[in-house]
């Protein structure tokens, strides 16, 4: 039994590997964020019998870089009536919680380095699932602040809508996840993956199909994507909470949207689809996880091309009168089955 690499047995190696893991995970996430924008435009384009971006590079492959440069060099406008500090803080407060959440997602089996065991995960918290819920909750502040500090009616309406929507759907998402860890009896994402690693049949999606569906729907609502993109409904609110933003600050909101999409996809694949222990052998853990993440993200993009935006009262009705009762019923049935099995 090899020892787990930690601060106490080999500090320089531990710190080095930690930094490496942080950099790689951050880099890969940012790369996916950049190319998710390209993929979204391409996929939606082809679904609507258009071509999407074609000019910059081969089939528009350099488009994200061009967009990034353009946004970076644009003039940064702060409205005179805006409250400056919150206006500056808001884009950061929405992006940071999204990126922090990825720290608990495991992306491969333990590897051995210089005689020490090291998990392929930035940190394995024994409250991993709660940590995700906590930072999902903090993500709301970015939108609330952006809406309020802009001092514009469209932004405020967008912010208010987003708050109500995210609070309602967070509740349903939380209750849904509880059913999963009633089965796993642990909150650590690493152990949840280990429990699903036997074969494809062991994936929680087969034991908790309803929970998986609910989680995807509430996830979509929490990251404000179509059909739940009420906070930035362009036909009525211009651009919702980020109406007054320009330049790189606007880009941060954009990045946060895609980072949140990656987070929801990564969590859904870890909790329900076996995480890195998937159809391919263990050594290809990263490929397994990324494959699942991309599949879910493709599904989100597909939905955007397919479904119209729901009305606001429909959204609230769906959340409180359908999703939460369903999640509670799922919880009760799961509890009953767990008790009967013992």
């Amino acid at each position: 039994m090899t020892e787990m690499l930690s601060m106490s047995n080999n500090a320089p190696l531990f710190v080095g590997m930690m930094l490496l893991k942080l950099l790689v995970v951050f880099g890969v996430t940012m790369l996916i964020v950049a190319y998710a924008t390209w993929c979204e435009r391409k996929v939606i384009g082809h679904m609507q019998t258009r071509l999407g971006p074609m000019r910059t590079g081969w089939h528009g492959l350099l488009q994200p870089i061009a967009d990034g440069l353009k946004l970076f060099f644009k003039e940064d406008i702060i409205p005179t009536q805006a409250s400056k500090v919150s206006f500056l803080l808001a884009p950061m407060m929405i992006l940071v919680p999204a990126l922090i959440t990825i720290a608990v997602v495991p992306f491969g089996p333990d590897i051995t380095i210089q005689g020490f065991k090291m998990p392929l995960q930035i940190t394995d918290l024994n409250i991993g699932v709660l940590y995700i819920l906590a930072f999902a909750g903090l993500g709301v502040y970015g939108i609330v602040l952006a809406g309020w500090s802009s001092n514009s009616k469209y932004a405020l309406l967008g912010g208010v809508r987003a708050t109500a929507q995210m609070i309602s759907y967070e509740l349903a998402a939380g209750i849904t996840i509880i059913a999963v860890f009633m089965l796993s009896e642990t909150l650590s994402l690493r152990e949840i993956v280990a429990l699903q690693s036997g074969s494809v049949i062991d994936w929680y999606v087969f034991k908790q199909p309803l929970a998986f569906g609910l989680f995807i729907i509430t996830g979509l609502a929490e990251i404000n994507r179509t059909p739940f993109d009420m906070p930035e409904a362009e036909s009525e609110l211009v651009s919702g909470f980020c109406t007054e933003y320009s330049s790189m600050k606007y880009a941060l909101f954009f990045m946060a949207e895609y980072a949140n999409m990656i987070v929801i996809a990564a969590i859904a694949s870890t909790l329900f689809l076996g995480g890195w222990s998937g159809p391919l052998p263990e050594a290809l853990g990263v490929v397994n996880l990324l494959g699942k993440v991309f599949a879910i993200m493709f599904f989100f993009i597909w939905l955007r091309a397919t479904l119209p935006r729901v009305r606001y009262d429909q959204l609230m009705q769906l959340g409180w009168k359908i999703l939460i009762p369903l999640a509670l019923a799922n919880l009760a049935v799961t509890g009953l089955v767990v008790v009967l099995q013992q």
Partner: protein
């Protein structure tokens, strides 16, 4: 290392606590309060109570404060209303100073640090922090737990009754 970190977080906590009462704008006060709650969560992590930290962030920073900010944003208070209550700060300062003295007095007098009781370090590492809290809540403290939940239910029903004109 840990001590330096503690003082750093403590400084941020106290400064944001001060900003809660000092900010002219209620939304900024609310934000400072969120920061205070977040710092408290960091203290829980440093005390090896990660479950408490997560709950602190989920319940206080993530849910309650969002609603408070939501209400402040919608009310949009004028400057006069904000200034009317500033004299209360003095009394609050005196009250919190007295509480501080009280806490220091009890810490100096009694043995409040150290591991006592049934829950040992060994138990926490083998069974897990969250599991132990769950067991304690549903066995030893079942009655207070249920009473608290009934109290919350009453509060919800009360809020609905007050908000709806004719039930």
């Amino acid at each position: 290392m840990e001590t330096i970190f503690f003082y750093l977080v403590a400084l941020v906590t106290v400064v944001s606590g001060y900003l809660v009462v000092r900010c002219q704008n209620p939304v900024n006060s609310g934000l400072a309060l969120v920061n205070t709650f977040f710092c408290l969560a960091i203290f829980y992590v440093m005390l090896y109570a990660p479950f408490m930290a997560a709950i602190q962030v989920i319940v206080y920073a993530g849910a309650i404060m969002v609603l408070i900010l939501f209400v402040i944003m919608l009310l949009n208070l004028g400057t006069e209303e904000r200034k009317r209550y500033t004299h209360g700060v003095v009394w609050a300062a005196i009250a919190s100073l007295l509480v501080l003295l009280n806490v220091v007095f009890f810490i100096k007098r009694g043995r409040v640090t150290g591991a006592e009781g049934d829950v040992t370090d060994f138990l926490i590492t083998t069974e897990g922090h969250t599991e132990l809290i769950g067991k304690a809540l549903y066995t030893d403290f079942l009655l207070p737990f249920e009473i608290a939940s009934i109290l919350l239910l009453v509060a919800i029903v009360g809020a609905v009754v007050l908000a709806k004109k004719d039930v």
